[in-house]
């Protein structure tokens, strides 16, 4: 495609070294069979060859459907899983194989906020104990000052410090998520991984938590890796968004360009599936309903992993008189290539036309496909 040959526009990457850098990360979970002798029969390809950079003070969003590997990737960054292959760099240091004391010290710099505020807090401990736990484990604060530190944290996240001795069940969902945020802030980490932090919350509470995360980022210069399946939430918080499909990043772009000009057909489909709280826009946009479910990551499809569900590939193949997905998509795995300023996508036939007109309709997929058809497609083998 012509875009591939285009010269890179002078990018202005965020200043300095990335805080987190992933190089060729693979995470396979083995599948075994047998009772006495476990033999290895296959792998779940949860994350397959992912490169990602997160710059200090930035928020990188990860979106994708269930099972696309976004949580696994976050856990690899956190060193909660060991990568099968590849390297994790944090703050200029290779942390892929850190162990013991060094690993524990590293954890002061990276913390996590979990999805389910009901399951991620121990019901038998008081809020004070839960939020103070990191201080006790890492001994960054003398014992007699833990309580006042915890109360400061509680105030910071909008909880009443007098509720120090209450148990999690005495709080509502949104307040519990605040407890989770306070706990993650205790050690003043550089990186906070938020794994679907607002998915379980009501909209009005969700907005409160999103604002809180934004304020804390400004105050403490935090870096976020933000995982969610809700594209509108991810776009709202993120500087850059990575779209994942079956263990691979298929598109990486700024939130606004992802919304305006999604290049990968999967991003387009994801975008068009987001329900919009605006009936007019909703009526204008044409929905791309993806058929079927995400294929099994045990035996991912050949070539482009999205090809069995890709409407773009089919449309282009049909224009060439071929039934089914385009052979190039079946045979050849697309690389992440530059598609525009700060935008990369892994697709042989990226979407071309811009998608919003004056903040209007989301997608006109078929128009795009016609655009593609009318051009003589240069796709060589």
């Amino acid at each position: 495609m012509s875009v591939q040959a285009e010269q890179l526009p002078a990018q202005s990457p965020p200043s300095g070294e990335p805080l987190v850098k992933l190089e060729g990360i693979k995470k396979y979970f083995p599948i075994t069979q047998g009772i006495l002798f476990q033999h290895h029969v296959g792998n779940v390809h949860a994350v397959d060859d992912v490169d990602l950079e997160v710059y200090p003070g930035q928020t990188v969003g990860l979106v994708g459907e269930t099972g696309c590997g976004k949580s696994t990737l976050a856990r690899v960054v956190m060193r909660l899983y060991d990568a099968t292959e590849g390297k994790v760099w944090f703050d200029g240091r290779d942390i892929t194989h850190l162990k013991g004391k060094e690993l524990q010290e590293l954890r002061e710099d990276m913390q996590m906020v979990f999805q389910d505020p009901y399951a991620s807090l121990n019901p038998r401990k008081t809020v004070g104990t839960i939020v103070g736990e990191p201080f006790r484990l890492h001994q960054t604060v003398p014992k007699n000052r833990i309580k006042s530190e915890v109360q400061q944290l509680m105030e910071l996240v909008g909880l009443n410090p007098e509720h120090y001795n209450r148990y999690p069940h005495e709080f509502s969902g949104g307040q519990r998520q605040r407890i989770g945020v306070a706990r993650s802030l205790a050690l003043r980490p550089k990186l906070i991984v938020c794994d679907e932090p607002v998915s379980a919350l009501d909209v009005s509470i969700q907005a409160q938590i999103l604002n809180l995360l934004g304020d804390l980022q400004d105050e403490f210069k935090l870096t976020y890796l933000f995982i969610a399946h809700d594209l509108s939430v991810v776009k709202h918080v993120s500087d850059r968004v990575a779209v994942m499909y079956l263990g691979k990043i298929v598109e990486m772009a700024e939130g606004a360009s992802l919304y305006r000009t999604p290049k990968h057909p999967y991003s387009g489909a994801l975008l068009s599936a987001v329900p919009m709280a605006d009936p007019e826009l909703a009526r204008q946009k044409r929905r791309i309903i993806l058929q079927g479910d995400v294929p099994s990551p045990i035996d991912p499809p050949s070539g482009c992993r999205f090809h069995p569900r890709c409407p773009q590939s089919r449309a282009i193949a049909e224009a060439e008189g071929i039934d089914g997905p385009h052979p190039r998509c079946i045979q050849e795995e697309p690389e992440l290539t530059t598609q525009g300023p700060e935008q990369t996508a892994a697709c042989h036939f990226p979407l071309e036309a811009s998608i919003i007109e004056g903040g209007g309709a989301v997608d006109r997929f078929e128009d795009l496909v016609e655009d593609q058809e009318s051009k003589e497609d240069p796709a060589p083998n």
Binding site: V203, S204, Q206, L231, G255, R287, L290
Partner: protein
């Protein structure tokens, strides 16, 4: 206008508990025409699920004080004896629940579970019922329906389970389908599939649909009328355009400005509603929303506002004068969007 298919009048559902009376639903009225989709929106604990469970006759009258009227095809469902309700529930009014993982029985094959509800209502053989189940699975776009019917729920993906639930709910061609958060547990792409399926089946079966959700996006795309509920009462009622472009209740404003918008250019701060939804045991006096309302004034903590019609069937329960509401809405709420 034709006789409404389902008409709920001043429905109240109160649960006596040790801590006090929980007023889960406190005077809700709406009507539903054939072929129409009604959206009921609200936060958790606003009474949206309880009101529809009551319509289905699934609230045990021994544990709750139910008053009001639910008219369906000329009879008051709240007065129908239990045995007769069994012939209506499932056959004429059916329901899809939020969590397809827990609403299918893990020990029985999916086809059997669908056939079971058919057998309950129709005098046909097991084989015929099973064949109908397979046909229903095909109608909700499940590939290889015959093989799928003899599988267990754990062999289905989340989206397929919800499809199976829809197949079950529609197997007897009901007049009203109540979908209680049908897509909350699902991915956006699957959500889009399921909502489109409900839309399509609605016209195929000429049913009326009630979609209960907390997601204002879902109702924008799929509903004709919307009722916004707060603390057991309707805060605002109107057609979709009324609610999104001419909202008149501060709670609706709050909900609308709480959602991050895909088409916003900059990352602006959201304007969430302050505070938390109230406990349904101690609902604030006057307007239940007043402790969280930025525009509250004199009568708000004293008098309960009535749901008064504004124009057509657009109605809002708020003490602010119409002129004030329109001014605040145009200057502060819609301007920010």
């Amino acid at each position: 206008m034709a006789q409404p298919l389902l008409e709920v009048k001043d429905l109240k559902v109160h649960f006596p508990t040790d801590d006090g009376l929980v007023k889960a639903v406190d005077g809700v009225s709406y009507s539903l025409q054939a072929g129409e989709t009604l959206g009921i929106v609200g936060e958790s604990g606003s009474g949206k699920s309880v009101s529809s469970l009551t319509v289905m006759g699934l609230i045990n009258p021994k544990q709750a004080r139910i008053s009001g009227e639910v008219f369906f095809q000329g009879q008051d469902l709240l007065k129908v004896p239990k045995d007769e309700m069994r012939t209506i529930r499932g056959a004429k009014i059916s329901m899809i629940f939020q969590d397809p993982m827990t609403s299918l029985h893990p020990f029985y094959k999916v086809g059997y579970q669908i056939a079971e509800s058919i057998l309950e209502h129709q005098d046909i053989s097991k084989q015929e019922a099973f064949d109908q189940a397979v046909e229903m699975l095909a109608r909700v776009n499940i590939p290889h329906p015959k093989d799928r019917a003899s599988q267990y729920p754990h062999e289905f993906s989340g989206g397929m389970r919800q499809r199976a639930m829809i197949a079950m709910a529609l197997s007897l061609n009901p007049d009203v389908l109540i979908a209680d958060e049908p897509t909350t547990a699902l991915d956006v792409t699957v959500q889009a599939q399921i909502l489109d399926l409900i839309d399509r089946l609605k016209s195929e079966f000429n049913a009326a649909v009630i979609i209960i959700t907390h997601d204002l996006g879902v109702v924008a795309e799929h509903c004709d009328d919307i009722m916004v509920m707060y603390a057991g009462k309707a805060a605002e009622f109107g057609d979709t355009d009324d609610i999104y472009y001419k909202p008149l209740h501060p709670y609706t404003w709050g909900l609308l400005s709480s959602i991050p918008r895909l088409d916003e250019d900059k990352q602006e701060r959201l304007n969430p509603i302050r505070g938390l939804p109230p406990s349904l045991i101690q609902v604030p006096p006057g307007c239940a929303f007043h402790p969280r309302c930025p525009y509250k004034f004199d009568p708000c903590d004293r008098d309960v506002p009535e749901l008064l019609p504004v124009d057509g069937h657009h109605a809002a329960a708020c003490h602010l004068s119409l002129a004030d509401k329109e001014r605040i809405r145009d200057q502060e709420v819609l301007a920010r969007r």
